[in-house]
Symmetry: C2
Subunit: 698 residues, 2 copies
């Protein structure tokens, strides 16, 4: 799809320069030096020849078609150069030149213009304001990065050109193989979603890594990332996770969801492996590109010293992996090959005087053990350790069916071994903890890959009825939907809502109560009052007509005294809710990723402990269950000492119904059911109170 | 104190060997090659001379006194060699030879014998089963490690000889300066506590780092570590933090405290900086040895690229440090020296084309800013970046009054800069996140150093009375102390306990109730019943003599039916407790560190959310307050929406009284007050139920 970018047959450098310290010279030099095999066409109105290549005043003057043009002309000349390229029939453009959106409104307008012209011709554009692109498989270095990495199968995209330089420099030192590397720049046209799609299809890429500061289109991202992740691992390091995301939202749901949580939910949904730091990004990429995925969580550790073995075992347990017990057979098989003091338990301690053969035997035995899914090999350079030969033994023993990761601790004594590992495809880490962390990431991804197919249930609901209510509210500009109308909407989506009536007068209230049957609850109805109970706007257990009359008059009197400016629209009289556990089900629409469903136990669990979970709608039954199970307080629902087990399926179904509702109606900006009262299994669960915030359909 | 170990005037190598592949040869060679300046005496019964030094059959044959002897003789010859050394008057011994405690009971016995002989002569012993010791300040390499590090001010002690090799190898590659390094081996005599004391006093050491797998004596450790940490930073990486610590204890307190929690509490108390991984251990040591401590939490970031700046800012916020806003003056001062596109907000972005002067100006301005406590300098190697000169600029600008840490991201392009940083004392990290983490560790330590003096309050209590009750229980072998006696003990320590009486018969119960005044509570008394209410052994709000009679008979009848084997000792009749928030105060005695106090909110907060905190007794008022404030649910005590503020001082005082009680009586193995009912400020807080587990005084 982006072939003209990744594997062009010919490349023009528009703004090529004779001066070695100019970017326009460096890019041409990079293209030449890195061995690009097709025609290279420098474009410069004054030069005849640059770096031995014939130069043309414009691309049209060149007279032949060119696949890819890299633009490095000064900002004022960009538009004309683009027109020239388009007229000459290029298929793709990389605009290195800066000075567009990042400089303000005028630049943004010029950038839009640029994209429009390209799109009119069906031409894709990378940048502007970027470092360029390189692809080792096609010996294409269309960037001004001065480092050419070893060929490999990791592809990077980076929203920071500077970071791309740092990664290249790191890769060069550590001999990390790279397939392609793309500097995203301003992402005016080609963005992370295009690249996810292209790299997912690229046979030279087996791991996609991205450094992102923003995401252009959340919906599209989730689809592109999920599709890419279904084919190969996608690792993303998203920076700017704090502060930026804090929004001043009024509801519980809104104030609990920040950008970071939304990214987390989106990544989880799409199967993206999230790197929290720069080092994790590289650490994980290395493991994925070099080793097969583990099919289980059971780890064997082979070490020549106790200390590092303990460190690795700690890390295994802390990350939720397991130390394999090893089979009796494995232990027995190792025994004759090891000194008496060696441990054939796991960690397998081959002792400080271990020779390469001992390591190889232990690794092979561990790999052959059916209770082992991955092996972590540790070494400290001790007096008699033959480090290099031991690394060779590790390489020999690794069989590419189960992952093997290594940490040879130290510095200069292990340098040659580390180099060999990088060359021969054993991911190596400076500490046991980092090796285990990379293995954990592989395991997470393997589990996501093995997940059951996502089936989103569609419940039979009265969508037309909900639509009428929502439209009515929007028409009347009543975007804050109070309890009465909110419950009507919920009824349409087949939530259990206690029977109730809106009453404008005292006598209507009594009539309503008699129709429902005593005892009843009474709640104030007002578009201006959100926290009803704080103002005395809720009365429960009214058990007679007189009690209803008294409650009505007192409520009106007192609320008028307390908030004289509030518009009062009577009261809502309803059947008393059954008893049960109170939970909150909610949704807030994230500006990037759309509807984020929320779940939490009511009261202090949400307000004080912030013990809530999020998931992007629409959700499946399994995802709804995961939302419940991921809260710290889940045990309270499952039933612990003295607490009955509640109907968790009813909560999961409630979340799925909300999922369906907010997917059906983008007009719902926020909503919550608070509380949703859940009874015991087989009992009734009801929406006891609810609120919606709408937004006009755009 | 350990002078003969760290700076001996003369050294003997007992078991020196002519054969270059023998440890006995290598140690002598190390001593010679690393430039030890005093007499070196090889001891070997068969050789005349080794490595040019005259050899003696025994140390007594040498005829002169020797400060330190390093023993590398075969295991069966160790005892005789030690006797020879002791007879010759050595002051300190390092026993390299293995085969002692680590091999089983016999070895352990021989090890004890070894230590006894040394102690009888006042001679200190390192090892056995160790790598030896080195000290760069005295050019002493009394180890068989084949790497001699650069001189510096970090001292390491390691319970793993293999890890010592790895650290030395790492230090050599990264030019990390080291003062001394001690392999602890089996810690038969010299242990971490001795070394903490010695290194705290050592003028060549400014940071103490330890890798430990176990601690010999928790009490002594806390005292030694606290004393050392008051003089210089102490960083400890304790491995084996999982599983190992899981104990099968019956009470809440016991089952919630694991070894890892105990270590955490001990380190916190002693001001030890805890490293969670091998890398953190080195990362932190580097920061502490090279830079002054920050006096506040406000960080300035200087960067030539946005991405790394964002990463650092994320890390700053996530770790609870702050991004300084910078003063108006600082911003104005930087403006004229920077291009328009540069940011003078924090992170200070000096842009991709920044020259060294721009960096220097920005760092100097940040350091001079009164709202900045530390500076983190970031760089990515971009097209025009002069990396080496920029590193020089950082070194020039750092003024040693506020800490400056750097992360120059990349690989080969930044290698020279990294080397310069290591030489010139700027701690350098491969990623912004690790630089910020090291700064966080410095800040934590600085805050501990600045803590107010620890004043443990002594409350006037009736210690004699508590002693009588405890002695009585132990005499009668009733080590499980039930509610009645437990409350007597608490009364003696001036806890508010509701008035109550132990009644053996129905009529005694009525009489007790009448004396107390209705309503009363009634609880079963039985040494065999722990969870009274689960068995119907608690009745509340009994408001008349008849109610008391009925309750007594029903309780006896039903409990006899349910647990026929339980011994029933009547009932406890007491005044109803006031209402309030229920919390749990407890203590469990950790085998290493002694009495660990526990605090948590009652019910689900402890049982489901495990929201509890621990501190080692005795505690101060501030520490008791910290225990409360460190729980996630603390907001509930402070008072949130609709919840009254409770008397947190009463809880803190309760913890301090328990602290005093369990310090006074080592016989108390475990105890809890569950619930402790706390009223509003100014109200009453009472111990509503309590249990103790005793152990006979050893």
């Amino acid at each position: 799809m982006l072939d003209a970018l990744f594997s062009p047959k010919s490349v023009a450098v528009v703004g090529a320069s004779k001066s070695p310290d100019k970017v326009g010279n460096r890019i041409l030099a990079n293209l030449i030096n890195c061995g690009f095999r097709g025609p290279l066409v420098p474009i410069n109105p004054t030069a005849k020849e640059i770096l031995g290549r014939t130069c043309y005043p414009s691309l049209r003057d060149y007279g032949q078609s060119v696949d890819l043009a890299v633009l490095v002309v000064p900002k004022p000349a960009v538009m004309a150069a683009v027109d020239d390229c388009l007229a000459a029939g290029v298929q793709a453009l990389i605009v290195i030149t800066a000075g567009f959106k990042e400089t303000g409104a005028e630049g943004a307008q010029q950038e839009r213009e640029l994209v429009q012209r390209c799109r009119a011709r069906g031409v894709r554009l990378v940048g502007p304001n970027c470092l360029g692109l390189l692809n080792t498989a096609h010996q294409l270095n269309a960037s001004f990065a001065n480092i050419w990495p070893a060929r490999g199968h990791i592809s990077f995209m980076s929203q920071s050109g500077a970071l791309m330089s740092a990664i290249l420099d790191y890769a060069a030192l550590h001999r990390l193989g790279i397939s392609s590397m793309i500097s995203l720049g301003n992402k005016a046209d080609v963005d992370e979603n295009d690249l996810l799609e292209a790299l997912a299809a690229d046979p030279d890429t087996n791991v996609i890594v991205g450094y992102l500061e923003s995401i252009m289109d959340g919906d599209k991202f989730i689809r592109a990332a999920e599709s890419a992740a279904s084919r190969k691992p996608v690792i993303i390091f998203k920076s700017g996770v704090t502060q930026a995301g804090v929004r001043a939202a009024s509801s519980h749901t809104g104030s609990l969801a920040g950008a970071d949580i939304a990214y987390g939910a989106a990544f989880r949904r799409a199967g993206v492996i999230r790197a929290e730091t720069f080092e994790q990004m590289i650490d994980y990429a290395m493991a994925f590109t070099m080793q097969p995925l583990p099919t289980g969580s059971r780890v064997a550790i082979v070490t020549n010293a106790g200390g590092p073995g303990i460190m690795a075992a700690d890390a295994v347990e802390q990350m939720g992996l397991e130390i394999s017990p090893l089979t009796e057979e494995s232990r027995a098989a190792m025994r004759p090959h090891l000194p008496e003091a060696a441990s054939v338990a796991n960690p397998i301690d081959v002792l400080g005087d271990a020779d390469p053969e001992r390591y190889e035997m232990a690794i092979r035995t561990a790999l052959a053990d059916p209770t082992v899914d991955a092996v972590v090999v540790l070494l400290t350079p001790q007096a008699v350790t033959r480090v290099r030969e031991t690394a060779e033994a590790v390489v020999r023993a690794a069989d590419r069916r189960k992952p093997v990761l290594a940490s040879f601790m130290g510095g200069q004594d292990v340098a040659a071994a580390v180099e060999m590992f990088m060359r021969d495809g054993i991911p190596h880490y400076p500490s046991p903890e980092r090796a285990v962390a990379a293995l954990w990431a592989m395991r997470q991804y393997a589990q996501w890959r093995a997940r059951p197919p996502r089936v989103v249930a569609r419940f039979p609901v009265n969508r037309r009825r909900a639509e009428r209510i929502i439209n009515r509210q929007i028409r009347m500009n009543q975007l804050q939907v109070g309890e009465v109308a909110a419950k009507e909407i919920l009824r349409a989506y087949e939530f259990d809502v206690p029977p109730g009536f809106h009453a404008l007068t005292r006598e209507e209230a009594v009539e309503a109560a008699e129709r429902i049957g005593f005892p009843v609850a009474m709640k104030i109805v007002s578009p201006d009052i959100i926290h009803k109970s704080d103002l005395g706007g809720v009365r429960l257990n009214l058990d007679s007509a007189d009690a209803v009359r008294d409650a009505f008059d007192l409520m009106m009197l007192r609320i008028r005294q307390r908030v004289p400016e509030a518009r009062l629209d009577g009261v809502y009289v309803e059947k008393m809710c059954p008893r049960g556990r109170e939970v909150i089900l909610g949704m807030t629409r994230d500006p990037q990723f759309g509807p984020m469903l929320m779940f939490g136990l009511g009261g202090i669990f949400v307000e004080v402990l912030k013990d809530v979970t999020f998931h992007i709608a629409p959700i499946t039954r399994e995802e709804a269950r995961q939302m419940l199970e991921s809260t710290r307080s889940y045990a309270l629902l499952r039933g612990v000492r003295g607490q009955p087990r509640v109907d968790v399926d009813a909560i999961a179904e409630g979340l799925q119904r909300i999922s369906q509702l907010v997917t059906d109606f983008p007009e719902i900006r926020e909503m919550d059911i608070n509380p949703f009262i859940v009874g015991p299994v087989g009992g009734v669960s009801v929406a006891a109170d609810a609120r919606f915030t709408l937004q006009p359909r755009s």
